[in-house]
């Protein structure tokens, strides 16, 4: 759980500037930008995400490297499972605990 997942900000919510749609290798979910209030990201920015919250802004190269590192650590499935779980998107079907 120490690791963080890189994602690209797609869109900031118009009625809540702390809520953003993020893209993580094609999977789109809402994450919370509340921890980056002092350094608000804009669409196109890359961020490191941990438990559904953006923790810091990073470069696109760093995002690619981080994705690669997650892959090499065997963490990519866990990371994608986490991202897909954001917002309880699968909550309607009782999520299977793996």
């Amino acid at each position: 759980m120490c690791l963080a997942i890189p994602g690209k900000i797609v869109e900031i919510s118009s009625d809540n500037k702390d809520s953003a749609l993020v893209d993580v290798v094609g999977v789109r979910r809402r994450i919370d930008l509340g921890l980056l209030q002092d350094d608000q990201p804009v669409p196109g920015d890359w961020v490191l995400i941990h438990v559904g919250f953006a923790m810091s802004k990073i470069s696109e190269q760093d995002a690619a490297d981080q994705m690669n590192t997650l892959r090499m650590l065997g963490e990519i499935d866990g990371a994608m499972q986490e991202v897909q779980g954001y917002g309880l998107e699968d909550a309607q079907r009782d999520p299977e605990i793996q």
Binding site: C2, H50, V51, M55, E82, I97
Partner: protein, 403 residues
């Protein structure tokens, strides 16, 4: 005379060939995986040069993510024998005493309570079984991937109470804090947090105070530091005289951090350095620290599995958040549970024992049927060691027994 010169040059030639072979192996290992395999082998060479032969260097990596990386990337094979990597207690699942899991689960015995937690909590054993096992027996247990989703569950289930079982170091605590601020602002009353957030500095202090530990340097946590910054580590350098380098997670990051530590050790220096500058700001994340300060205060003391009671090492909700504090909303048994006598989780956690030195390792205690938390979490040193080294050794044994 000439034969001596020839012998000496033969030795040098052999050593040069060994170096070439080692470098080739390192390049091959990383060539498809990371951008700069050449740089990795160059850095490995520099480590060998700097490490010398006489001194034995003991370096502790604090965070579970680094433990995992060390095993996964085979960094111990790359480092010379006189650099010893010792695993620290930076795995929040691993340091949680069993009694706390029992406490959280006892609250959720109430059929109107939903127990919500991250996936890595689901298989952690309490005395009556893990959350997953409780789910199988009828408890309403849900995985969430964010504390804000636990709050969302509460909004979606107004007739139930959602209790979020919060764990994690300072990387995770700010997210729990923000979620509580939102719950309060929105007046969501069917939500509470059972807070097991712990702080990394007191754990490092406890390790350094431990009489059976001798350490020369630290590899500092990567993502905790994005929140707390690098300043909190200054006392390690100043008061304890140990160098510490905050490190990223790629092989090159960790090897570069070892180089930086060796430079300091050779010069007899002790300071805090940031190898992970691209992600970690020296001052940390002010917004995250503000959220934590708003919602949490330090417990006078907290029990850590393996390390015992450590003062001011864990967080609880402030009085003005009492309504969202599961420990205040509900009665908890609060029974201390000691680990099974044979399990040596504590000593492995402190780095006194290596995982395979625990009597239960690989026999009664494996990732498939874990006895202790260091085997349940993939960041736990026992699970990491088991998955990479034990299997490698078993493979070698089986191959040689066939031959």
């Amino acid at each position: 005379m000439r034969s001596e010169i020839r012998k000496s040059s033969e030795i040098h030639l052999r050593q040069a060939r060994k170096t070439d072979a080692r470098n080739a192996e390192i390049r091959m290992r990383f060539v498809d995986e990371f951008r700069e395999p050449e740089l990795i082998s160059k850095t490995a060479e520099e480590i060998r040069r700097l490490a010398g032969k006489e001194r034995h260097h003991r370096m502790m990596e604090v965070c579970g993510g680094h433990t995992h990386a060390i095993y996964r990337f085979g960094l111990k094979d790359i480092l010379p024998d006189n650099i010893e990597l010792i695993h620290g207690p930076g795995c929040p699942v691993c340091v949680l005493p069993m009694g706390r899991i029992d406490d959280g689960l006892s609250i959720a015995q109430d059929p109107d309570v939903i127990f919500a937690a991250f996936g890595d909590m689901m298989r952690v054993p309490g005395t009556q079984g893990s959350p997953l096992e409780h789910k199988a027996r009828g408890m309403d247990v849900r995985i969430v991937y964010s504390p804000s989703d636990a709050l969302k569950l509460a909004r979606m289930n107004p007739g139930k109470h959602v209790m979020f079982f919060a764990i994690g170091f300072e990387t995770t605590a700010p997210s729990t804090a923000l979620t509580l601020m939102r719950a309060k602002a929105e007046g969501i009353r069917n939500f509470s947090v059972f807070c097991n957030h712990v702080t990394i500095i007191p754990a490092i202090r406890a390790i350094l105070d431990s009489p059976d530990m001798r350490l020369d340097a630290f590899i500092g946590p990567g993502h905790v530091s994005t929140v707390i910054g690098c300043r909190p580590y200054e006392w390690i350098a100043r008061n304890e005289g140990k160098p510490i380098v905050v490190s990223g997670f790629e092989p090159l990051d960790m090897l570069q951090s070892v180089v930086m530590l060796l430079h300091q050790l050779r010069k007899g220096e002790a300071k805090v350095e940031n190898q992970y500058k691209r992600v970690v700001p020296w001052e940390g994340n002010r917004a995250a620290l503000r959220a934590m300060a708003e919602v949490f205060e330090l417990r006078p003391y907290f029990e850590w599995r393996g390390l015992g009671f450590i003062s001011q090492s864990a967080l609880r909700l402030r009085d003005n958040y009492a309504e969202w504090d599961a420990e205040q909303r509900f009665q908890v048994p609060g029974i201390r549970v000691t680990d099974p006598k044979a399990a040596q989780c504590g000593e492995v956690l402190k780095g006194v024992l290596k995982p395979h030195q625990c009597k239960l390792f690989g026999r009664e205690c494996t990732p498939e049927h874990p006895i202790g938390a260091l085997m349940v979490s993939s960041e736990g040193s026992c699970a990491a060691y088991f998955n990479y080294e034990h299997r490698k050794a078993a493979l070698v044994n089986s191959l040689t027994s066939i031959a």
